[in-house]
Amino acid sequence: MIETAVALGDNRALSTVSARQVARAIRIGRNEGAAAERSLIRAAQGGSEEAVEALYRRHWPRAHRAAYLIVHDPAVAEDIAQEAFLAALRALDRFDWRRPFGPWLHRIAVNRAIDWARRRALRREVLPGESAATDPVEHPAAPHSDPAGGGARPVGEEMLAALAALPADQRGVVVLRYLLDYTPGEIASMLELPRGTVNSRLRRGLDRLGEALGEGIR
């Protein structure tokens, strides 16, 4: 009925059915069903705040986390994730509800995060005696233990530091592949890159992560 009401542009009909239907879509939505997501998108297109919140709750955590793992700045990651949602909202009435919402949102967020990280790397200050040309990474790779000899760092922190040491392009594909679980083909499409480039960035990224962590990634 939601679909019918939306398709007819009938606000009155929508208002009489939306609460029950949206509640159902949200319940199903918690079960990750693609059909439920389509219902949420259509309900959101019909003006349902509840559906927007359900979509937000469903997709914010991974979009925000992906942005953070690429930019490594909490405030910037929050801004990027917010911007991605706002951009998605602005285009909601043009969105094809048959397509999944997540990849669309992730594409916006990850591209923005990579752009930001690239710019940040370009602005990196070069210290006296240091050559920017020979060291393209944004941050030095993290040591395996703290310099004060305080013992080994938790492996999660080591991984974050190692990830931060990757060039932004490699960080982006690693996050898309191993956090958001996209295939190399999907990543190639999202970043508008040849698939071979995605594969080589993934390989180089994993190699560098493995080196920094002191173990290979298979």
């Binding site: 602005r123 956090l179 962590l213």
Partner: protein, 417 residues
Amino acid sequence: MNEERLRELLRDAPVPDEAAAEERGLRVVQAAFEEHRPPRASSRRRSLLVAVAAAVLGLALLLTPAGAEVGDWIGDRLQIDDDQAAPALTRLPSGGHLLVDSRDGVWVVSPDGSKRRLGEYDEGSWSPNGRFVAVAGGHQLTAVDPIGNARWSLSRPRQVSLPRWSPSGYRVSYLSGDELRVVAGDGTDDRILDSEVAPVAAAWQPDLNPLLNEGDHVLAFADRDRVVRVVNADLGTELARASAADVTALDWSGDASELLVAGPRIVQVFDPGGGRLPKAEKRREPATARLLASSRSPAGARTTAAAFAPAGNSFALTRVLPPGAGGLEHSELVLVRRNAGELSERRLLLVSGAITDLAWSPDGDWLLVAWRDADQWLFVPLSGGRKLAVGNIGREFDPGGLGSTAFPSIAGWCCRP
């Protein structure tokens, strides 16, 4: 380590302030959705309009000569040809005085088009009522009156640039090397505000904030990391900050509530606290400026200038568009309005080549842009009336020379009568 372990680590890596960020984001999204939400009926009407527009565009494509682009087709109708441009600058629409930086020095242009050279300075900035100009040249910052008499001057060991006079008239900010400094309007009490900033002109908040202490001056600038910081310039305390994607220009809205942060690829509008900025001495941590809206340049395009209208929350920007199939670069002048979280654009001008500088007339009725590639200035009325083009601008500010190598920059259009 295997790939599954990597997935687990990425999934479980700590993200600072994660839960609070989610709640903040939800409030922003809900507010934007509430203000943006369209009624369905109008959506259907809009779809019809879009369909009609698409049909018109399709017709345009059909009627366009083979190989030409739609952009060129539109451009031909908006472009002002050389032979339509006035050969000399003989008047300013809507009055006021222009300040112009040229290779030869800083100039003041009167409403009748006559020009006076203030001296061999690099760049200038009007005082709020146009009674003085702060000019930077080499290692000196100087205050001169509009006929060029120097009132005070100070020297710094490093190159002085980007002077900006506060709306109250009591402060002037400027850069010395990469230091941001502030001096009182009478040339006294010169002091450093930040030791490493980006080469972007600082922006004074209009002096309308009743909640700030009387006499406080609020300044926005971009620090070395391009974080935009809003500070009480008198106390040195930071009031708010915004993580901007990129910064080449900063400007406040006329009502002091919004801060425009423009970069080549993205334009963002922030609410740094506006009328709700608390008194500086009561604040311990700077607030995070709220992103109200943002707009990314089309692929390959870059924003070259942006400025708020003297009143209201509309702003104008100039944008260089990427070359089309014909290899021809275009530029556009766009008026941008913010409606909740959405920025809507209205194109005022599209020309071949690059347009760069941008200035609003004091009454907000006209925009002036520099069309460098055509050696012209274009005065564009917001009313949609006839545009005025003035040619030979290079020579106007290079009397006796050819004017071919030194196209001047528009530094300001002052002031309300």
